[in-house]
């Protein structure tokens, strides 16, 4: 336990951590070289599209995938060193895939993991009961895991990961395939754990979920392109978010969409109900208004996290493209 006293302030610390897959021409840098500092009790989100490297990063934190470069410490322990067992003791993982035993019942799955973690007696009994009551799985103990709904299955996975009372809980896209009410329930659970001092790292492709985190890292192609509290990230957006109110001319929607999508001025665009939502550099606002003359009028609107995310990715792609051209 000596290792943990030196960096007690941080729950998870990575320094220039990275992981490659394959080699030679097929070398794929899944995660570049990321340095993260996640303090105790933080609900930290890894946000990014598929293939951004979120799962790889999470697996390195969980001790499942050794990094190609850099180091990771969880509660001060190196999951790949001599302290691996200490690291396992303080980490719980909820993988993205259905990774419990579907042919075992809820109770049998819990018993199995309790055995592997060496839990027993009064400690196990009270903890198990508490987990069953907060996940409301208590009445389904005899049901096979494969027959649970998506939301209940995830809650069981969370319960199995929390049986040994870890200080850090890692969740990989926990709300994937979970219906909205269960999604909300799951998030409420996470808040409850964080309130009790647990550190939580969660990956998600959903922008609305990003804003539920204390702090997020935007990931794209193995790198972090922005990291801060979500509301501060949104406030820092230095581009104009505009709503296009369409004029009542034939095919206004189709023509406006085509124009917006092909325009050099536009950073990102998305349909928004009956209108369009467009992000442009502030200096280009007038130019776009002119281009859309007759099709619709522009009005400023409050930026959302999704605007920020799309802008960040689009700008990155643009710089990458110009670099390649040069």
């Amino acid at each position: 336990m000596t290792a943990s006293t030196t960096s007690r302030a941080l729950s998870i610390e990575t320094s220039a951590i990275g992981r490659d897959f394959g080699s030679g021409k097929t070398l794929n840098r899944a995660v570049g070289a990321l340095s993260l500092e996640i303090p105790h009790g933080e609900l930290f989100g890894l946000i990014g599209p598929d293939g951004a490297g979120k799962t790889t990063l999470l697996r390195m934190m969980a001790g499942l995938l050794p990094p190609t470069r850099g180091t990771v410490r969880v509660e001060g322990f190196d999951p790949f060193g001599k302290e691996a067992d200490h690291a396992r003791d303080v980490v719980g993982l909820v993988p993205q895939e259905h990774s419990l035993y579907g042919d075992l019942t809820v109770g049998e799955n819990l018993d199995f993991f309790a055995d592997l973690y060496g839990l027993d007696g009064e400690e196990l009994r009270t903890r198990r009961e508490r987990l069953m009551s907060i996940t409301r799985l208590g009445t389904f103990l005899d049901r096979r895991a494969a027959q649970l709904s998506g939301g209940m299955y995830k809650k069981l996975a969370v319960a199995c990961a929390l049986l040994h009372q870890p200080d850090v809980l890692l969740l990989d896209e926990p709300t994937n395939g979970v219906d909205p009410p269960s999604r909300r329930e799951l998030w409420e659970l996470l808040y409850e754990f964080v309130d009790q001092g647990m550190t939580i790292v969660v990956t998600t492709p959903y922008m609305d979920e990003a804003t539920r985190c204390h702090r997020v890292a935007l990931m794209d192609r193995g790198e972090i392109i922005a990291m801060d509290a979500p509301e501060r990230l949104v406030a820092s957006l230095d581009a104009a978010v505009l709503e296009v109110s369409l004029a009542s001319v034939p095919n206004a929607r189709e023509r406006a969409t085509a124009l917006v999508e092909s325009s050099e001025l536009v950073i990102a665009s998305a349909p928004l109900g009956a209108s369009l939502r467009v992000v442009v550099e502030s200096r280009n606002e007038a130019a776009l208004a002119k281009a859309l003359e007759g099709l619709g009028t522009l009005s400023r609107t409050a930026p959302s996290f999704e605007d920020l995310f799309l802008t960040a990715i689009a700008r990155r792609e643009k710089t990458a493209a110009t670099k390649e051209a040069a």
């Binding site: 001790g63 995938l65 003791d89 993982l93 579907g102 060496g118 001092g197």
Partner: protein
Amino acid sequence: MSEASLPRTEPSAALPRTKSRRRTSSLRRIFAIARKESLHVQRDPQALYLALGMPIMLLLLFGYGVSFDMDELPVVLVDEDATPESRALSDAVFASGELRIAGTARSADAAHQIFADRDANAVLVLPRGLSESIARGEPVEVQLLVDGVEANSAAQLQGKAEAAVRAASLSLGATPAMAMSPPTETRLSTWFNPEERSQLFLVPGLAAYILAIVAVLLTALTVSREWDRSSIQQLFVTPVRTWEIVMGKLLPYFTLGVIAELIVFVTGAWVFDVPMRGDPIVLGLASLLFLLGMLGQGMLISIVAKNQMVATQMATMVSMLPSMLLSGFMFPIENMPLPLQVISNVVPARYFIHTLRGVLLRGNGFAEVWFDLLMLGGFAFVMFTIATRRFKRELA
């Protein structure tokens, strides 16, 4: 980066942070894995059918169906002589019932078509002038054409026809002389011992073969299934050791293997009267060592393959085929080309079959089979060592 805006919550009393370092025991984790694995087997009884149904089915199939002793072999008769003497000869040849007249033809030339149509395995030609030879007391020459494609039938036919013609011609007072002219493709080999009933020879080999299939296939799926289901992630984040996973998974399949083995021996003794002339303790020991080796091989395949389909194919390739073809089960090792003989040295079924035949039929004990036991034990040890070493605790 500023952290001032972060919500900070002090650890509450509900989940106490201070906890005793748990001292977890390997034994408990091994039994947890074993119990879980048994539940898988109970809920998906396919493995049970494989372990318990397959031995019985294979034994009955081989024991009854694949008897090497034949009756009523179809033969086409060409009676070119067409005299009372030639008819008497042919009646005598077919009287015993071992050969059966499948039809008649006018000339031996028709034989090609008959073989091509697979209507008969042989053509018996009684040549013109046969009655005169008998009358003059000269040697009688009949011709037997044998379809050599099916080597075993050809060998048996040859023997049976020869015996029948000899007996028949003796009763007719003629000196028999038989000209054998099998077609060019004939490849005959004596690969079973005519002194013994074929079951006595087959059952020990079958015991090894069945055990190889059951043990390797059962374990070949067990670790690869964890990869397919991605439950391997949940396993690897716990403190469980890879060797504990291997041991835990071994226990239930070892039990199934022992049951399968008992079924084979009991059926062999009961249905096919296979004797037990040697030391049963040696037999038991050899069986356990062989079973462990096969389970270890399956485990290694499972760990290397990382997916159930590849694992099944590998299991078939590296354990079933060698156990059948390179073990002396059907083909004697001494008859094999040198490279195959060398390979057969690392096929554990070879040592097991040698021990089984020795103990069951020849009455051997430790003194005769210690080397086999050593090799079986060595194989098991090597398999488990490699399996545990190759079982890397990481996803990639």
